[in-house]
Point group: C2
Chain length 736, copies 2
């Protein structure tokens, strides 16, 4: 590929991006699309959709960009939670480090590469891209110190930035924990593997155990019940009610206040007829009856203080570590109820099984990727498929095929990955939505790095022979040979997957389509507002980190990629901020748990870059530069060891000191009773709290959260249905 | 090597072993050697050494064997502690599994190997050993199912035995913890990284912190002080006193009662003149003065109940995980005082540095091992050193050189390893003697498995080319080719290193020599009894596990090794039991922490065996057998995952339930005050408690342990001197 092919590709993508963004700025002004582009606002406040028709609605405007730019971090924290801030921080970190890298590499490394060999340069537009890579520097060149220096500067500034980011995010996490005063999960321990006893029920066992050993701190407990056919009946009833409601009521504005009052899914029930209500009462009665006899060996145990809670959760309870297993409970709205019924004994085997399944999936995926990669080497393809040879003679076809098609095919294949990994994480037995998403994020990250980066690098260079793993010692050398060659592919990957994915992200074409179908084909005017999305960290974090990895690895080898990446990250910054503010709802949070993943991934990228540089300098016979790289690798690894020593325990455990301070403050302010009151109904597995909302309006202030929480549980089944829908429109996960 | 060479080697070793054991049975009857062979009894009770001279003293007798055989496990537990029992259990496990393996392999596998090829067999004595290995089975033979079946039986019975051993040792560990009612370490938390404050001393910071956050459970605390020149002065004073005592008192029987009363090293002080006493008093005053101003950021904090202690030790104290780091304190006699002064911030870098140093040491060690291995291939050696060719023509020289010399040279080199690894573990910063020994044990185990097993296997087969690591995929195949060839070496290794090391172990030649020198050359009649040994788990556990590994790996490939190994393990059983009963003193215990090491090592050996079998079946073109091995590998790994889930947390943490029960029992019995009284003086860094012993005889019952404990600390410097002596006489470590 030469410069003009790159420019063609860039041109196509810029055109697509700009037109899509303009389209977005028009579409978002249409009242009918409010539910698509302002799902968050819709869920949290009354919308004013009675705008008069105006021409302004059909003129593209950059107002959303300004808004996204101007929002402060504090606002973002309030709107999207800590995870959103951490995600934006990952993007900001990438912008900062690649600004530094771009300046250094373009002014120092790029000229060295370009004039690396004594040759007559062609016109710049028809210059091959290889001229700009390190492949153009001749062996034993003295100018390799420039690359070495650039790598030192990039590595050091990356470590420097990483350290301060980690420090500030740790602080934010602590603030996040201490800020949430009325968080019921701080008082709750999830107890699993309650031993089975023939004399008493699980509930009695739990009470006896904690009354015996934690008499001074034990408050109460709540069992997890089997949700079977009755739950299904209730769901069916709800669906029927909803249909009934759509037919009977045309008034759409009634939606605004109650959704504030009692969560999202509760609204349809407010206007139920008396018959349905009494029927529901019966059903609920059955649930309670059934529940009493069908307990799982899992319970939520409430304690009197936060300190007691972390003590009970962190101490090994029984001499048999497979009994009385305790951990901090997730937040009520974060609980993944259907996984709580998994017997604890199964967890280890489930973890191993899903790990194996994920690995197998990663390797089976090789097949389409290897095929896609073949497309960048057209001569090989036309050897294999001679009937295409005529087609490839046309220049623009070649350019489109080499510059655009491989990435598109790869992206389409990649869309199947997040739902699959989400399925694995569900089977694995995560007890919280956020834990499941985090686990999926890690799986997708491994998958992406392996299948997009390594397989492309390795199979692209030695296509046809997959005996890559036979030699360990030569890996730096092999990578050093392969990466500069594949730089072209990565550039087009950034152009297509990167830029286009952002446009897709902001356009939300799948939901837009659904919305249009609903509104204009099926003539359903009122959206039930429960289809709002939660931020798909499990796809977006790996994507951003993958681009970071590509950026680091290519920085000194093929610096031309850096401007493209910088544009991507700047665009990502705007787009994701906009999405967090307007589209995604924060139903549950992991509390900044994505940062350690980003940190480790960045360290991996740095070390990989350094190892590849080692190989490159080896090939170029510059032993001095090679020698200088080794202390850099050791230094980076030591830095990582220090960070994981200094910061990461704060992300695994909660500090006793902070919790004790919080307890004291609450005790002094006399808030404890209020908290206990709230705890009683915080974790409700079945939808029983709607009555509370209606029956006891005096409790509204206390129970507001509770009701909302309780309602989110009910949406779980719905979510699992929507999860499978998400497989069709991947990249986002529909939360409750 | 053929059968007769093997028999020569076996003959030499049997003769040596038998004569050494006979010599031992004579030597142990000599009154002058009591301190060598009955160090334990000498330290714990008055010895009756006024035996009349009799002929019986010079006749070998098997009485010690009978005694060693008859001792029950309960007695052993009392005499040697849990670690000794666990060690004997490792030996017993090996005996059991290799009995099974020997029966199966000799009656099923050996005939298959021997008649594996259509060939005319020579006279059995001149038959090459290769005829008995799997190398003699022809390719594609149907009889390979016998090997596969044998491996299945061995693996399954090994897992079966491992499971029940783990279960029973876990039970024993729990009993060990709950049994030791007056253990001060159960009430003590070691706090490190106390933050530095300009306003107050470390001691005040500690008091303030724990009074603030653990007001209800905090009892008191004790700082760790800088031991500098004053401590040295005190040591010098003590040495002088000891010399003085040896000159002035000839009465040896006075030793008997006080050593029961106030520990070992305190005795010399009991008869000090008044001048020395008062001088010592001054010194002590200085120590206290100095100590107050020279505190380290480390403290022992005492709590009111055991439960509070584990809570404080397991909870993350501060939001900065590098401050207020808590862990369960080791037992007083187990504390490694000089490492307590290491700043906590250094620990991570020390760990990394020692890890790297240990790895470098492992690889540097390759050089002598590669040379030694050359000796088994005489033709190569005589090519390299032509002047030796004449020598090698004599048959017995060849047999001695190939059968005996390599192992002897290797053993001599190996003797330098444990002290080096002990040094690494000391630098690493272990806070307890047992922790240091356990860490050394792991290092030595890795070292031994790598340098004795792998390097011999790999360099032996592909001598001269060390490019072994280049190919990952071929490792099973390479191992499968190499191991049967090296079986000969392993047989001689078992014969020499195994059998002879046991003889050396029981003879204790180094100490015997020292004793003889002292008694007959320097005419020192009375031994100061503080030179008694603690069991060298860090050398003996890896040795036994290495033989286990060799046994598993060779079992189906070269079954002839199994009888030799069985003899080794049976002999080891008797010898180690004897040594535990008579020689070694149990000053400190890890509480069965060696079992998880043994378990993991055995699992590793099993999986390695299976992988090698996979390679062998691959070479022999038996795809069915290969196919059957893969589920076996998966099964073994799953078994390991289950065990580490089910049992290993009990070895890392202490169960809250058990501790709470113990607290309750003590509170009901009113023993708590007594325990608190004892805690006050349990951890004393300097020798201050001798006064207590003298000044307050009414406290004897309470303080007996305390004084003993306090005295052991004083022996630390002495121990470090003796450690360097141990480098000369490795295989054992001189405890305090």
């Amino acid at each position: 590929m030469n410069i003009s092919a790159l420019l063609t590709s860039a041109g196509i993508n810029i055109a697509i991006s700009v037109s899509l963004l303009s389209l977005y700025s028009i579409l978002r002004k249409q009242p009918s699309n409010v539910s698509v582009y302002f799902g968050k606002k819709l869920a949290s406040m009354c919308d004013k959709r009675n705008d008069p028709f105006s021409l302004e609605r059909f003129v593209p405007s950059p107002s959303w960009i300004l808004k996204a730019w101007e929002t402060t971090e504090a606002e973002l924290l309030e709107l999207g939670g800590l995870d959103a801030v951490v995600f934006i921080r990952i993007v900001v970190f990438s912008i900062r480090i690649f600004c530094i890298a771009a300046v250094i590499c373009i002014f120092l490394v790029l000229p060295v590469n370009y004039y690396g060999k004594d040759m007559i340069h062609k016109k710049i537009s028809s210059e091959s891209l290889e001229v700009f890579t390190i492949a153009n520097v001749k062996e034993g060149s003295k100018w390799l110190w420039a690359h070495c220096l650039a790598l030192y500067i990039i590595s050091c500034s990356a470590c420097f930035l990483l350290y301060f980011e980690y420090k500030s995010i740790t602080k934010m996490r602590l603030a996040y924990i201490t800020r949430s005063i009325l968080n019921p999960s701080h008082f709750t321990v999830l107890v699993r593997a309650v031993p089975c006893s023939p004399e008493q029920s699980y509930s009695d066992s739990v009470r006896e155990y904690f009354m015996n050993y934690y008499a001074s701190s034990y408050l109460s407990h709540q069992m997890v019940y089997r949700s079977g056919t009755v739950q299904k009946l209730m769901n069916d009833a709800e669906k029927m009610c909803r249909v009934f409601k759509h037919v009977s009521s045309e008034n759409s504005n009634r939606n605004s206040l109650p959704c504030h009052f009692c969560g999202v899914a509760s609204n349809p029930f407010m206007i139920l007829s008396n018959e349905t209500e009494s029927e529901k009462g019966n059903v609920r009665f059955d649930v309670l009856d059934l529940a009493a006899e069908k307990e799982y060996a899992t319970a939520f145990v409430f304690f009197k203080t936060r300190y007691d809670t972390i003590v009970a959760s962190e101490v090994l309870q029984s001499a048999n570590p497979m009994l009385w297993v305790t951990e901090m409970a997730p937040e009520p709205r974060d609980v993944y109820w259907s996984n709580l019924c998994i017997p604890y004994k199964q967890l280890w085997i489930r973890k191993i099984a899903t790990l194996l399944a994920a690995i197998v999936f990663m390797f089976v995926f090789l097949i389409p990727v290897t095929f896609v990669q073949g497309l960048t080497q057209l001569d090989q393809l036309s050897h294999a498929l001679p009937f295409l040879r005529g087609l490839f003679k046309k220049k623009y076809v070649t350019q489109v095929v080499t510059g655009y098609l491989p990435s598109v095919v790869l992206i389409l294949f990649l869309y199947a990955v997040p739902p699959t990994m989400m399925l694995f994480s569900t089977i694995e037995g995560a007890v919280s939505h956020s834990g499941r998403k985090k686990s999926t994020c890690i799986k997708v990250l491994y998958f992406t790095i392996w299948n997009v980066f390594f397989v492309n690098v390795l199979s692209g260079s030695i296509i046809g022979q997959l005996s890559v793993f036979s030699s360990v010692k030569d890996i730096p050398k092999q990578l050093a040979e392969a990466v500069p060659i594949q730089a072209t592919f990565f550039m087009t990957y950034v152009l297509t997957s990167g830029w286009a994915s952002l446009s897709v992200e902001i356009m939300q074409p799948f939901i837009l389509l659904c919305n249009i179908l609903k509104k204009f084909i099926f003539q359903i005017k009122e959206d039930p507002p429960d289809g709002t999305l939660s931020f798909p960290y499990h796809t977006e974090v790996p994507r951003v980190l993958l681009f970071g990895l590509i950026g680091f690895v290519c920085s000194i080898l093929a610096p031309l990629i850096l401007p493209l990446l910088l544009i991507y990250f700047l665009l990502a910054y705007l787009v994701y901020r906009n999405q967090i503010m307007n589209v995604y709802i924060t139903n549950y949070e992991s509390g900044g748990q994505y940062w350690p993943i980003a940190h480790k991934s960045t360290i991996f990228a740095l070390v990989l870059t350094q190892i590849i540089a080692l190989g490159v300098f080896g090939i170029k016979r510059s032993s001095v530069a090679s020698g200088f790289i080794i202390p850099l690798i050791i230094g980076t690894l030591l830095f990582n060891a220090y960070c994981s020593q200094r910061f990461s325990p704060t992300f695994d455990k909660l500090a006793a000191q902070d919790f004790m301070e919080m307890d004291r403050r609450d005790q002094q302010d006399g808030r404890m009773e209020e908290i206990y009151e709230q705890l009683r109904s915080a974790y409700s597995q079945f939808r029983l709290s709607q009555d509370l909302c209606k029956a006891a309006p005096a409790h509204i202030n206390h129970n507001e959260n509770t009701c909302k929480d309780a309602n989110t549980n009910s949406n779980e089944d719905q979510e699992s249905i929507q999860d499978s829908e998400a497989a069709l429109r991947p990249g986002t996960e529909i939360g409750s």
